[in-house]
């Protein structure tokens, strides 16, 4: 093993060593690298065309003066168009008055979800309107209705009004709730036209006109997906749209880092030898670890920082008490397991044994690495144990542990645990909650997650992560599915703090209380309406359950490979995940088509008076859980990404085996095991993008969609959160990046 000391390791001796000064430096760096948001508009500034255009390579950014000019003209044209659009709206308002003297006709039919093979389920309580436009462009409303529980509708109207000579065209509109906002403490639903179909006016001849079975791609589940997903078409037939504010915020924040990435990619293409990892690093904004390194060289590679970040950093590790040694805990990061993988990147199993120090922070005492560490070995079960005495391997092992931890946190906790998990609630919510006030409780927190997940499929799961880590796209999809098999609202509890320094767990519990208070009061306040429209809760629950993945590893297609060792690994993983995701394996879970589903049923009753006595509490618990995942749990990882994944050599998605016999057990100076140049710039681009472009905060309430009571409850705990290192102003109200 080489004994080269990095300059950082050499310089460590001159830095302060007392705890107070170190803490001061860390706090200063946290402040300095904190992300600020200022939204604004720049003139002649490169622009991006939209979030869907984000790409791994060159995003469709416009930087040459000519294209900027064209872009400027385009913007001006858009303004003119918008002006006339607004003018049109003002000249031809769509008034609420219904043009009807006598109902003698109906538009009849049924709305159902489109299915890939045959019909989907009926769409209940969909808002429908019937409009006409006169030759002069005026809108006239002829009638409106909602579909019934079976999706059937009979929209009443006056035939003579619809068949007036003045009326040039008639339109049948399907409207959906696009926004919920709070006005004087009451939720309001905003409907927008989702589909407008012109009807042949001459076909209206009185009595009923049959629009027959209308198959809608309305919040359709994507067929063949590994987990319950919304079907999002590239053609713009999207179930929902990002808010303008969210798109603008992204544009503002992402442009400089986008330009940096483009510069690097060009350089790599033209002359790769002219660029190094430190140069790439230097081009991106400073992050927490590079900042600390500047003041305390080597500190972030030390045991103290390692323990602190494993406990309270992005990873928020799950500490499992050691069976024998008191005050000792294990964190497990599972490696490539049986998932489809490549042989470029290492991903061994990592087991870290910690001892709690006096101050409550963990100190690593052993690191076990199981599996391949270089390109020459082939035994997936080979185990190596390192202790602090084994320098320099101990330092290398910590890096391996950090990298594996980052991989697991991103793929399992972040993508599966919060993104995919929230999406399954989002799809079920948008499909089913229409008249029930619970829609107002959930929608603000579940909006946009389906869209961002769709983008992540392409850029992360099918793009960056598959190219920068050990798992292939297929392997990643199976792994996230397995983790989804450990997510259930029932019985979920936040992490139990193991010591006074476990601030991450404490903050989590504090937030859980806030959400609990918010949900409880909302549900009780709207009790009558919620119970009246219990049918929607039933459908919500059915969709959740029926589309949920089976409990991890239980379905034949999810089972580990045959063999005792694999089975033991699967058992170890299952047991650990039960603690990590607070999943109670003893609960009786619904069985659908022979699959034991991960998600518990909220209610089995179509009306409240038939509901079981636990159902009311179930509803509260499920909502509380969904909001917790989509807000706090997601924010935690998302906003710490740049802290813990913002320095290429400190941590990344995967270390390469490289050519040397020692493989990944090598110093940071060996760039052969670090991510390559392209992956390096992409990684910093990503962590910047994800951490920096947050938009939609609970306390900031940019879109007026956050229940004021939620913000009040949170505000009341501001200081308490602050003492745990959490800034409540940075907690997002939804998962949208």
């Amino acid at each position: 093993m080489s004994k080269t000391k990095t300059s950082a390791e050499a310089a460590i001796s001159s830095a302060p060593t007392d705890e107070a000064s170190i803490r001061e430096i860390i706090d200063k760096c946290k402040r300095e690298t904190r992300i600020e948001y200022h939204y604004g508009d720049g003139f002649f500034k490169p622009r991006m065309r939209g979030i869907n255009h984000l790409e791994l390579g060159r995003s469709k950014i416009i930087s040459s003066p000519i294209t900027i000019l064209i872009e400027w003209l385009y913007v001006q044209w858009k303004r003119v168009r918008d002006f006339f659009g607004d003018l049109g709206k003002r000249l031809f308002p769509r008034e609420g008055r219904v043009w009807c003297d006598r109902v003698d006709s109906h538009l009849a039919g049924q709305t159902i979800f489109a299915g890939d093979r045959g019909d989907g389920a009926p769409i209940h309580h969909l808002h429908l309107e019937f409009w006409g436009r006169t030759w002069l462009g005026h809108w006239r409303k002829f009638g409106e209705t909602k579909t019934d529980k079976e999706g059937y509708f009979r929209l009443p109207f006056d035939l003579r009004q619809a068949r007036r000579l003045w009326v040039r065209r008639v339109y049948f509109e399907i409207q959906t709730t696009t926004r919920v906002y709070f006005h004087e403490g009451k939720p309001r639903f905003h409907f927008d036209v989702w589909r407008r179909v012109e009807l042949p006016k001459g076909d209206l001849i009185g009595m009923d006109y049959n629009l027959r079975t209308i198959r809608l791609d309305f919040w359709r589940y994507r067929e063949g997906a590994y987990t319950p997903r919304a079907k999002v078409n590239a053609s713009g037939d999207e179930p929902e749209h990002y808010s303008q504010g969210r798109i603008d915020a992204l544009m503002e924040q992402v442009i400089p880092i986008e330009l940096t990435k483009i510069k690097h990619l060009d350089q790599i293409e033209l002359d790769p030898g002219s660029l190094t990892i430190p140069e790439i690093q230097a081009d991106y904004p400073m992050n927490l670890t590079t900042c600390i390194e500047k003041h305390l060289p080597g500190y972030t590679r030390g045991d103290e920082w390692f323990g602190e970040r494993m406990m309270n950093g992005m990873n928020r590790g799950t500490f499992q008490p050691d069976a024998k040694k008191k005050g000792h805990y294990w964190i497990h990061y599972f490696g490539r397991c049986w998932y489809e993988s490549n042989d470029v990147y290492a991903l061994p199993d990592v087991d870290i044994l910690f001892k709690l120090k006096k101050n409550g922070l963990p100190e690593p005492v052993e690191i076990h690495l199981t599996g391949k560490l270089n390109s020459h070995e082939h035994d997936p079960w080979k185990k190596r144990v390192y202790t602090p005495k084994d320098e320099p391997d101990w330092t290398y092992a910590k890096r391996v542990a950090r990298v594996n931890g980052a991989f697991n946190t991103e793929v399992e906790e972040h993508f599966a645990g919060t993104h995919l998990n929230s999406e399954q609630f989002a799809v079920a919510c948008y499909r089913n909650l229409k008249l029930n006030p619970v829609a107002a409780l959930l929608m603000p927190h579940l909006k946009e997650v389906s869209l961002i997940d769709h983008a992540a499929d392409k850029t992360l799961i099918g793009g960056y992560i598959a190219a920068a880590t050990a798992l292939t796209k297929e392997g990643l999809e199976q792994r996230t599915r397995d983790i989804m098999g450990m997510q259930d609202w029932k019985g979920w509890k936040p992490m139990t703090p193991i010591s006074k320094a476990h601030s991450c767990a404490k903050a989590e519990a504090l937030f859980w209380d806030v959400v609990g208070g918010y949900v409880d009061r909302f549900v009780e306040d709207w009790k009558d309406e919620i119970q009246k429209h219990w049918f929607e809760i039933y459908c919500f629950s059915e969709d959740l359950v029926n589309h949920a993945v089976p409990v991890a590893f239980t379905a034949p297609q999810d089972a580990p490979p045959k063999g005792a060792k694999w089975k033991a690994l699967a058992d170890r993983r299952f047991e650990y995940y039960c603690q990590q995701y607070s999943f109670d394996p003893t609960l009786e879970r619904p069985v659908v088509n022979g699959e034991r589903k991960a998600i518990s049923r909220i209610t089995a009753a179509k009306s409240f008076h038939e509901a079981g006595k636990e159902d009311w509490q179930n509803l509260k618990d499920a909502c509380r859980y969904a909001i917790m995942m989509a807000t706090y749990m997601h924010t935690w990882i998302n906003e710490h990404q740049y802290d813990d994944l913002g320095e290429i050599l400190y941590s990344c998605g995967g270390l390469r085996y490289g050519e040397k016999p020692e493989g990944i057990m090598a110093p940071e100076s060996d760039y052969g095991i670090a991510p390559d140049l392209e992956r390096s710039t992409q990684m910093l681009w990503f962590t910047n993008l994800l951490s920096r472009t947050e938009y939609g905060f609970i306390t900031r309430n940019e879109e007026g969609d956050v229940n004021p009571h939620f913000a009040e409850l949170l505000e009341a705990k501001r200081e308490e959160f602050k003492s745990l290192g959490v800034d409540i102003d940075a907690i997002e109200s939804r998962t949208n990046i």
């Binding site: 003698d104 003579r160 007036r164 000579l165 003045w166 001849i205 009185g206 009595m207």
Partner: protein
């Protein structure tokens, strides 16, 4: 509005353009339709619009001695009329198919002239309800391979319900079916009180109705074709009727329902898709029809009926627009040209042949 300057377009719309325009449009549509019928169907093809497959018969009608319906001089108690009737199947020339069956009555023993005609079809409700709907019905009637109402039925569920109500397959006899005139007519009786009337015919001996399909699906209903391995011939119903009349004759009960008019009548009263409530509008016996002889093919084919053959006090109700439910009868009243064109065609080309007994099934032409 307080002053004349405040008259808005919508008022003009309502009081002038609507009234006049609607009526004009109705007139144009009715005339055009009759001309088209005459020019493209009745004259060149020598056909009725719908009921080509039928058999005529004759006998008499005797008005009941103790009427319960409001008195009317035309229907004086005990009054007797010579009658001609015609039973027919619409529109295919195949008795074994699932078809609408009809009975038309004229109170004279002449093929054309009569003081009172009434045309009635099986089923309590109709397939259309206004001129607009009738024209749509006519346009969407794509008659092919024993299917004709599919396109219409897909768009108009009430039309489908109408075919379900009217379709009769495997009826044992024309005699035991119930026939309804569906649309209301004027009824201005001896007391000069304005009323509306609907007529129907049921068998006098209350023989149970045959040929109803039990709970057909939408698709079964659209498919009027003969069943697989059908043993009944193309003319079986007409033969049965001839046999029956020769053997025992036939007696029918002609009934009437009346509804007193009111100033602001709910237009739905005129909607022939809505059955008048029988408690408020009980069916009352008008008279007994006794049939004792059938007409040959030629005389049956010549015999024709018209809504214009009615006394003024029993005639067609006025209609305001093509959407008005009464516009259905308006259209019929204006289709006289079609009947005359058919009569003329026989003079020009000669009589059409009877429907042959052959294996060319599910067709709407002679198919020799």
């Amino acid at each position: 509005m307080s002053s004349a300057t405040h008259i808005t377009l919508s008022q003009i719309e309502r009081y002038w353009i609507h009234r006049f325009g609607d009526k004009l449009l109705l007139w144009v549509y009715a005339k055009l339709f009759a001309v088209m019928l005459a020019l493209f169907l009745c004259f060149p093809k020598q056909q009725r619009m719908s009921h080509n497959n039928g058999i005529g018969a004759a006998g008499k009608l005797r008005i009941v001695d103790h009427p319960e319906f409001p008195a009317h001089p035309f229907f004086a108690p005990g009054r007797e009329f010579p009658v001609r009737i015609r039973h027919a199947s619409a529109t295919f020339l195949d008795d074994a198919m699932n078809c609408i069956r009809s009975m038309s009555i004229k109170l004279s023993d002449h093929h054309f002239k009569s003081p009172f005609d009434i045309e009635m079809n099986s089923g309590e409700v109709s397939l259309f309800w206004s001129a607009a709907s009738f024209l749509k019905f006519a346009r969407l009637r794509g008659e092919k391979y024993g299917i004709e109402y599919r396109d219409y039925n897909r768009k108009y569920p009430n039309g489908l319900a109408g075919s379900m109500a009217a379709g009769r397959r495997h009826a044992t006899s024309f005699h035991n079916l119930h026939y309804y005139c569906k649309t209301p007519f004027l009824y201005m009786g001896s007391d000069n009180i304005k009323r509306y009337a609907k007529y129907r015919v049921i068998p006098a001996d209350n023989e149970p109705e045959s040929g109803k399909e039990e709970n057909p699906s939408e698709w079964d209903q659209c498919n009027q074709r003969i069943l697989p391995h059908e043993t009944r011939g193309r003319n079986y119903l007409k033969y049965e009727y001839e046999d029956r009349i020769r053997r025992e004759g036939a007696r029918y009960r002609l009934q009437i329902q009346t509804h007193p008019a009111s100033d602001n009548e709910d237009p739905e009263v005129f909607n022939n898709m809505i059955v008048w409530d029988e408690d408020a509008h009980p069916w009352q016996d008008l008279g007994i029809i006794t049939i004792d002889r059938t007409l040959d093919w030629k005389e049956s084919t010549l015999t024709t009926f018209s809504v214009n053959n009615m006394p003024k006090t029993l005639g067609v109700l006025p209609a305001k627009s093509i959407f008005d439910y009464n516009s259905l009868n308006y259209l019929r009243a204006h289709s006289e040209l079609a009947r005359k064109a058919r009569m003329l065609s026989y003079k020009v080309y000669g009589m059409v042949p009877p429907i042959p007994d052959n294996d060319n099934r599910n067709v709407s032409d002679w198919g020799v």
